[in-house]
Subunit: 429 residues, 2 copies
């Protein structure tokens, strides 16, 4: 028997605002940060569980304090029991009535619980000697269903319906695993499109994206319409007619503004418009989707939980679901989100970038391909080529595709030198 002996936390901040990497219409000067958690046990196997919440700087201390609040729920607990029934473990943390009041199931406390669950998943996958995507992909449909909290979902998705989706995807799992290992998973790149970049840098990075084999790029928009038109023209001229160009407003608009603004950009044949308005505004997204059709609407990186995703799907508000690895209640809630997308037939193109989001979310997309949606058509994972050097098993993107990771775990583990070097303030629970 082994128990959890420590839940150590670190407030890690990278000074990305200096170079305006990551700048957009709502976030002019982010400092990419991670409220980071390391779970240790007395198993003597040398394995640790790593998890984190991505933030953009100030407030990362608050997020780290929320991680510390998990320690009493974890320290001294039997590791095998926690890992053997991750559905029950998730319910125990997410369902704690006193912690739940702080959301419920949203914001700082919910993201912290998600990071705690993800650290447990990291430990479980390492113990199994598998990368998370493969570990999840080899579970039975019943085991996968047992991970999901169906509370608030049953008007859209029942456990039986989820089971049917997963059983329908069982044939061909082995072939899809082999295909992933052979071909990887398509990526698109946001590297060229940050709002703070000059026109020259934009054009150069667009050409590089094409040379690097990406089939789609994304530009930040929403600060100034004339600038957006000029930048989209530069991008379209730089990438040619065969490459998709998505735009991302990062919640900048009200509903009427979004519809008018996107109409003014119609000539650029947009792959999608992302986060046109508040991520809480299901009805607003639905109105925008009707107003900008046939341009697809995408959102999800700030969707707080499965209840928001359920409604976005019910209201036909999105054509592209963008799950995020650290915004919701961990792997468990993202499994629910993937099942919802499959039920409604909406494609999933995960949000990534930041710090560590590429490393972690790729596992969810690959699991989805093998065991849930069973398709890769029209799908792609966001990619930004920043900060990967800080991870033990950094994402590998080649010729515009994520290579399937083979290292055990979730990909979250950061190099200890990076943790120490960018620790803004360290604290141990």
């Amino acid at each position: 028997m082994a128990v959890i002996t420590a839940v150590d936390t670190v407030d890690i901040r990278f000074p990305t605002s200096v170079s305006l990497d990551g700048s957009d219409a709502m976030n002019p000067d982010p400092d990419y940060s991670a409220a980071y958690l390391v779970m240790r046990t007395d198993a003597g196997d040398g394995l640790e569980g790593h998890g984190f919440v991505f933030t953009i700087g100030r407030g990362n201390d608050v997020q780290t304090a929320a991680l510390q609040a998990l320690a009493p729920y974890l320290i001294g607990e039997d590791v095998d029991t926690l890992l053997a029934d991750m559905g029950a473990t998730s319910q125990r943390l997410v369902g704690d009535s006193q912690l739940r009041w702080l959301g419920p199931e949203k914001g700082v406390m919910h993201m912290a619980i998600g990071a705690g669950l993800n650290a447990l998943w990291d430990l479980r996958a390492k113990r199994a000697g598998q990368p998370l995507w493969l570990h999840l992909a080899t579970l039975s449909p019943e085991e996968i269903v047992s991970l999901v909290d169906f509370r608030y979902l049953t008007d859209a998705l029942t456990p039986d319906e989820a089971l049917q989706i997963l059983r329908a995807a069982e044939p061909g799992r082995a072939e899809r695993i082999a295909r992933l290992r052979d071909e990887g998973y398509p990526a698109y790149t946001t590297t060229p499109g940050w709002l703070g970049y000059s026109d020259e840098k934009l054009a150069r990075l667009c050409r590089e994206a094409v040379d690097d084999g990406f089939g789609q790029i994304k530009l930040k928009v929403g600060a100034n319409l004339d600038d957006d038109i000029r930048r989209l023209r530069i991008a379209r001229e730089s990438v040619g007619g065969q490459i998709g160009i998505a735009i991302d407003a990062n919640q900048r608009w009200d509903v009427p503004d979004a519809i008018a603004w996107v109409a003014a950009l119609a000539e650029f044949d947009l792959a999608w418009v992302e986060e046109p308005t508040s991520p809480d505004d299901v009805l607003g997204h639905a109105a925008i989707a009707r107003g900008v059709a046939p341009v697809p609407v995408a959102t999800g990186e700030h969707a707080q939980n499965r209840v928001i995703f359920k409604q976005l799907l019910q209201a036909e508000a999105i054509s592209v679901m963008q799950i995020d690895a650290t915004r919701v209640g961990g792997v468990n809630e993202n499994v629910a989100n993937l099942l919802l997308a499959a039920k409604f037939g909406v494609r999933v193109c995960p949000h990534a970038g930041g710090v560590g989001l590429c490393e972690t979310v790729q596992h969810l997309a690959m699991f989805d391909f093998v065991s849930v949606s069973a398709t890769i058509d029209d799908r792609c994972i966001e990619y930004v080529d920043h900060l990967h050097e800080h991870f033990v098993t950094p994402t590998v993107v080649e010729r515009g595709r994520y290579r399937a990771p083979e290292a055990p775990g979730t990909g979250a583990e950061m190099l200890s030198a990076s943790m120490a070097g960018y620790a803004w303030r360290a604290a141990a629970a």
Copy 2:
């Protein structure tokens, strides 16, 4: 010129779980708590700004850490400048891009910002020598509109429409102020209905509620249908046919369950069904509202911000809007919520109870009566007779009505002896 010199915080917890006060189907054993903030200045006038976030125990340390994160935004700032334009002050805090990432505009960080703004309102009202409700009620329509962040609202409510609502309510302000001072504001009581109470205690408290002059009581439901039927029968027999009985499920149900459960309680002539499902589920509430009509649906104590309220109104999902004094972005966002309710013609019956919620939310309801909706018909503020003794100016409810407070400030100020006596852990920023 005076500046803010300190933002002191206290983690205050009352051991209410011992007596099962506050027990419901989702929160079996709450410890009513306050993440508390005191703002001090060098003005030499002895005035402090007090604000807090209500929580139910564990995690109150995380909420307190979020209050501490406000200190760098406030300490050293000119008090007159901050207080003179509370719209700009609100935008500066709510709109800080790095803090905003932690929500956005929801959960721990948003509630902390709300508490910071409420502490500034407390200071402003004290400086004016007015209770908050009167202070707000004597602002011009233009000044009131300037408090509101209309971002994400303009598809439902524009600044011009808000101005029209407020101007229409200008005639009669003085009469309504006099009427409030004379008659107070109607209250309903949740004191009898906690789930942990015995049948005998329920019956006794129901009779006492009638004797005390309340026109409506509320019972917690949702754990067991047979128990609910038995308890509602006891309550109806105890209060007679003239007293309203509302029920509160505290988010216990999925959509189909809610409709079936409420149908099984139809014989009891329910005043409303409250929080039938997830507070995030706008479409779910709308489906429930259609399914349980004519029983009114109420929600709001966990509605995270104005964007959720906007949608609940747009979708005709609620007939009763239950604002909460500490869940959203402070007085400013609650002014937006009151304006939305007025625009859609939905009555506001604020959530209270907890600790300090009665003391603070009464000001918003009274301001609404004087200057926004201009009506008191069918409206009432929740009342629970717990923990008022800890406040400097405790709520006074007589013959089932809140007496209009006359003490300057928001009502949030707790006795220093109570702060010290129930401090779980104190920290100064």
